[in-house]
């Protein structure tokens, strides 16, 4: 029996990246998940070792478009860790500002997709509509909606014009009020609660065993957050909370991301206030990097991004290791997807917020005897929501 099932992917219209899962189902329940990745593999580590440090930052940005700041930030942290390079205070605040704005845009993106998968298309349109002002803020600050090119070893590349700050603050207030409206709708909706509570549970022990990171781990009660564990840039100077929730199901992951977005808005507000009055350079011009090794990490919207750099005194790294957070989060499907009804499979897979620039996506469904079944998981997921809505509202 041939394994390729072209109609369901690896290219599916709303799962932007290519990724391939094989779900083994027995009746209505998922009994096993197998993953087939490698469709995105472009050889970043190899390419980075042939470029100078500054050139590789341009390359590293293009690992992922959604977490486009996280990888360069982790990369410059790693290079700065080799020689313990300090950065100016103004640069630290600008870095934190960009990082947190990116978290807001990424969580709004996920919220939209989650809404689409369970059949709330209005949530999708609203979340993405209110993502646009965030991209507008990026364009004001850096000149581009994504791939900002702001990070350099020793600081940032571009400064923020103080005249722009009142405009940015106004946009931020608008986003916050709209987000508060969406956030109020979530806990009050009984259909959403019954659809998502208790679905796709990842226990605390499983999260520790799989070394999960980010919201996937925090929603299961594991209190890890790089911003608090090893505060770099301006994270030691701003006031915010790392949210941890106990249940580990999809509902908790949703609530966690919404609460984190509010915390990010708080941080962005503090950074903008500080940047109004703080003066100083934005770049510590580093002329050479010595011999040694450096580890750098950053809390991306999906978890800890890890970069390791080994240098030999020249202007190129001799080894650059990159580990994106989805690489450790995706194997947790083996623990959270087993025993889940097929209609919930899609939302469970999406709740980890896989950034598939590391993977590919299309879901193949097979029986325990490896025969392929033709199942439209998106339709099944939406039908289940409709059934629940009818049961609750009558």
């Amino acid at each position: 029996m041939t394994k390729t099932v072209i109609p369901v992917g690896p290219f599916h219209p709303l799962l932007e990246e290519a990724e391939s899962f094989t779900l083994k189902v027995d009746g209505e329940t998922v009994v096993d998940v197998e993953l087939d990745i490698g469709w995105m593999h472009r050889g970043h580590e190899y390419l980075s070792e042939g470029r100078t440090f500054t050139q590789s930052i341009y390359l590293i940005e293009r690992i992922c478009g959604i977490c486009s700041t996280s990888h360069p930030l982790a990369c410059v942290h790693a290079i700065e860790d080799v020689d313990h390079i300090e950065i100016p205070e103004r640069a630290a605040y600008i870095r934190t500002l960009i990082g947190e704005l990116e978290r807001i845009h990424s969580h709004l993106l996920w919220l939209g997709l989650a809404g689409h998968f369970i059949g709330y298309d209005t949530v999708w349109m609203w979340a993405w509509k209110w993502r646009e002002p965030v991209l507008q803020m990026f364009e004001t600050i850096s000149g581009n909606r994504n791939h900002y090119g702001m990070m350099l070893v020793g600081g940032v590349a571009r400064d923020i014009n103080p005249d722009d700050i009142p405009g940015l603050q106004k946009i931020l207030n608008e986003i916050e009020s709209k987000l508060a409206m969406i956030a109020k709708a979530v806990p009050d909706d009984p259909v959403l609660k019954s659809r998502l509570k208790g679905v796709g549970v990842l226990t605390k022990q499983a999260a520790i065993d799989f070394c999960a990171v980010g919201p996937t781990a925090r929603a299961s009660g594991v209190p890890i957050d790089v911003r608090k564990d090893e505060p770099k840039d301006a994270y030691g100077w701003v006031d915010f909370q790392a949210i941890v929730l106990p249940n580990g199901d999809v509902y908790d992951k949703l609530v966690l991301r919404v609460l984190e977005t509010f915390e990010s808005i708080k941080i962005v507000r503090q950074c903008l206030e500080k940047l109004k009055t703080l003066s100083g350079p934005i770049l510590n011009n580093v002329k050479e990097i010595g011999v040694g090794e450096g580890i750098g990490r950053y809390e991306a919207p999906r978890g800890e991004v890890f970069h390791y750099v080994r240098t030999d005194g020249t202007n190129r790294p001799i080894r650059h290791k990159i580990r994106a957070p989805s690489y450790v989060n995706i194997p947790t499907f083996a623990a959270s997807c087993i025993g889940v009804p097929v209609a919930d499979a899609l939302i469970t897979l999406a709740s980890v917020d896989p950034c598939y620039c590391c993977t590919e996506r299309a879901i193949r469904v097979i029986t325990p005897d490896n025969d392929p079944l033709d199942m439209d998981l998106l339709r099944l997921s939406r039908e289940k929501t409709e059934r629940l809505r009818r049961d609750i509202h009558g």
Partner: protein, 140 residues
């Protein structure tokens, strides 16, 4: 033939193929459907199956593993089909040109009709490209 092309231009149905992209172009393509840019007012619709599509929106540098899938997809597509390469990746390979895992020439895998450079191209640029494609089909 030109009459059927004119008819096609009235409402182009697109199918999105992401062949090893960094995802930015894909998010910008999905952004086209959202209220700010709203490409549905031009009759452009995102479809779920290649059999219904008139235009393939290709993003990404095509890597060795995904190349046979892209070829297969192009063969399955009902002709006439137009391929739009979104972003700098299908145009020139962007910064991944020297990688060991990508195809040396994307045109050997799938013939591309329209290139939209940019990393990522702004949604306005994508709308302009689709409008140009519609103009060409209408014979302007």
């Amino acid at each position: 033939m030109s009459w059927s092309k004119k008819r096609l231009a009235k409402s182009l149905w697109v199918f999105h193929v992401s062949a090893s992209p960094c995802n930015n172009c894909d998010i910008e393509i999905l952004d086209l459907l959202t209220p700010r840019y709203d490409v549905e007012r031009f009759g452009v619709k995102l479809v779920g199956s290649i059999r219904h599509a008139d235009v393939i929106l290709l993003s990404g540098v095509i890597n060795q593993k995904v190349a046979p899938m892209v070829k297969h997809l192009y063969k399955q597509a009902p002709k006439p089909i137009f391929v739009v390469g979104v972003g700098t990746c299908p145009t020139s390979g962007c910064c991944f040109k020297d990688s060991y895992n990508i195809v040396p020439r994307r045109e050997d895998v799938i013939p591309i009709d329209v290139y939209i450079p940019g990393c990522p191209p702004k949604p306005e640029a994508m709308i302009e490209a689709l409008a140009k494609l519609m103009g060409v089909l209408r014979g302007k």
